[in-house]
């Protein structure tokens, strides 16, 4: 990884680079290093973000007018709180995100404990278990839609073969919600597992040996020694997963399309509909800013919690 063409100069004692370094000084060069990344982010992320923030205070729906309408203050934000569909969407999103995150944490921790170790077999198993998270989310949705087709899908046909009448996975509102949770957990449990495996591997081995010398049983040594040690990592992983589950869009698109009815509308899916289907541009902007602030709030809460956990750990 290098800029072609700059390497030769750096090997010359008094090259262009040396002159540049002298001219700009340490800080100048470092700022120059920072600049391109900042520029790209400013242009492609923060500018659009800011422009959506501004739009959220105006009235712009294509059905009303092809151009931006008048300034209406916080009306778009007020409207979301009165919108019954928005409220239902928020409820579903919260239920979905929390259940899916808990499921992933449980399964991921289980897998990490089962597969921790340095043997070749275990490393290979870990790699295979990682596959669900590296493939395109849009493909995850289409694969599961095939598997879950209630009448002709392989899952229900397999269940029928062992005498179980499988559920109406994507057609029944409750099962559809459950299916989405399951799909999200399938896709992201590997992330939890990989991270926790790394955390377990980094634990000091003598600590664990000391515990077993003390005669602590498996459960006790996990509960009182291992778990507290990996808790800070667990908290951070929970934060990443909760927020990303909160933002889920791709798998909803290709499995349930938010249905049946409004049963599986996630917030992201609803905002997508408002913005890119109905072109209620300013309303979608306001809703997504509410969501952004909520996500930042969750992140800050988790980071604070992690600090608490860390302090508590140090004090022990």
């Amino acid at each position: 990884m290098s800029i072609p063409g700059t390497i030769p100069e750096t090997r010359r004692p008094v090259g262009l680079v040396a002159r540049l370094e002298r001219r700009l000084g340490e800080t100048g060069i470092l700022l120059l290093f920072l600049a391109p990344a900042m520029l790209v982010i400013a242009v492609a992320q923060f500018y659009p973000l800011a422009s959506s923030a501004i739009l959220s205070f105006f009235d712009w729906s294509l059905a009303r007018s092809p151009t931006v309408g008048p300034f209406i203050g916080l009306d778009n934000y007020a409207r979301t709180f009165k919108d019954p569909i928005f409220a239902g969407t928020v409820t579903f999103t919260i239920v979905f995100a929390i259940s899916s995150t808990l499921l992933q944490l449980a399964c991921g921790l289980g897998i990490a404990l089962l597969t921790v170790g340095e043997s070749y077999t275990l490393r290979f198993v870990r790699t295979l278990l990682m596959l669900p998270m590296v493939i395109a989310p849009i493909a995850v949705g289409t694969i599961w839609r095939m598997i879950l087709a209630a009448r002709v899908g392989p899952l229900n046909q397999g269940l029928a073969a062992i005498g179980i009448d499988g559920p109406n996975w994507l057609g029944d509102p409750m099962w559809a919600a459950f299916s989405l949770i399951m799909i999200d957990a399938w896709e992201w449990t590997p992330f939890v597992a990989v991270t926790l495996t790394a955390a377990l591997t980094s634990l000091p081995g003598d600590l664990l040996r000391a515990a077993s010398v003390d005669g602590a049983g498996r459960w006790k040594s996990f509960r009182y020694i291992v778990f507290p040690m990996i808790l800070p990592v667990l908290v951070l992983v929970a934060m990443f997963r909760l927020i990303e589950a909160f933002l889920t869009l791709d798998i909803v698109f290709t499995t349930t399309a938010g249905g049946p009815g409004y049963a599986t509308h996630t917030l992201s899916f609803w905002i997508y509909q408002q913005g890119l289907k109905y072109f209620n541009i300013s309303y979608a902007a306001a809703s997504s800013w509410i969501m952004l602030l909520a996500c930042v709030g969750i992140a800050l809460a988790f980071l604070a919690w992690r600090r608490q956990v860390g302090k508590w750990q140090v004090s022990r």
Binding site: T10, A37, V40
Partner: protein
């Protein structure tokens, strides 16, 4: 460990493997299934006979799959190179700069925020921006989007590495009169290769799989493979065979790549959480 525990452990691992991998098997088998077997119950997991018609169809030379594949390759490669380069420079700068008011922390948090908001917020404004630049439906429009999405991640990841980077190595170079450019190029980058590789692998995955921004700014000419998949969901039904074949084309290279880069992938994923 006694036998019962070992057996129990092996069984649980086997179950986890089946759950994780069965969907891939279903996908691959469906890509070889004759079209008329998708809609009737009782066709079983294994196709009655194997057909390559779906692959033949999507790779029809008159079709555009090769173009989409090429688009995906160009976009992923370019985005990865640029994102890792810019990200490494920025992370190095943030780790070494002595900015007032803990400004570097503010910048770091700013980078983190990008991970935490719905990307739909920026999709439409970004579309309008690309139109102003006259870049709609070009590779560059998607590349800029992907770089801007992944650079923060690269920075966040590499910062953790730089904090552990032994400064003594650089001290010697400073004594020799080396400025930051030469230190970065000659000392830091060579020693950081594993970390940079981890960042590159993750960035490549993200870019290869990304759907929303690519579908917004590149509907035709610069269309990528994930965007193409959604085209098999027509208003009449779903072209399961072609969709399975196309999904296999997207998924299988990534899965193989993951097997070979597992070490970097695991490192990249965990560094933010385990160290940060």
């Amino acid at each position: 460990m006694n036998l019962a525990v070992r057996l129990g452990r092996a069984t649980l691992i086997a179950i986890a493997l089946v759950v994780a991998l069965a969907p891939f098997v279903v996908l691959f088998l469906n890509s070889l299934r004759p079209a008329d077997e998708f809609l009737s119950a009782g066709s079983g997991l294994v196709p009655s006979h194997i057909t390559f018609e779906h692959y033949a169809e999507i790779f029809d030379p008159r079709g555009d799959t090769f173009r989409y594949l090429l688009n995906s390759l160009i976009i992923t490669t370019t985005s990865t190179i640029i994102a890792v380069l810019l990200g490494a420079m920025a992370a190095y700068a943030l780790a070494r700069l002595k900015l007032p008011f803990r400004l570097s922390i503010v910048i770091g948090v700013m980078f983190l925020v990008i991970r935490f908001y719905p990307k739909i917020t920026v999709a439409l404004p970004y579309f309008l921006l690309m139109r102003q630049f006259n870049l709609l439906d070009t590779h560059l429009a998607v590349i800029i989007a992907h770089v801007s999405l992944t650079v923060p991640f690269v920075v966040w990841m590499l910062l953790a590495f730089f904090e552990d980077f032994p400064r003594e190595l650089e001290q010697a170079a400073i004594v020799d009169g080396c400025g930051p450019i030469r230190r970065f190029m000659l000392i830091v980058v060579p020693l950081m290769t594993p970390a940079l590789a981890a960042a590159a692998v993750l960035t490549a995955f993200m870019s290869w799989n990304e759907f929303l921004m690519a579908s917004t700014v590149a509907p035709n000419f610069a269309k990528t493979l994930p965007v193409r998949i959604s085209g098999f969901i027509t208003d009449k039904g779903i072209l399961w065979g072609s969709m399975s074949a196309m999904s296999s084309v997207i998924v299988i290279p990534v899965a193989l790549f993951a097997l070979f880069t597992q070490r970097y992938l695991a490192r990249g994923l965990t560094v933010g959480a385990v160290k940060g």
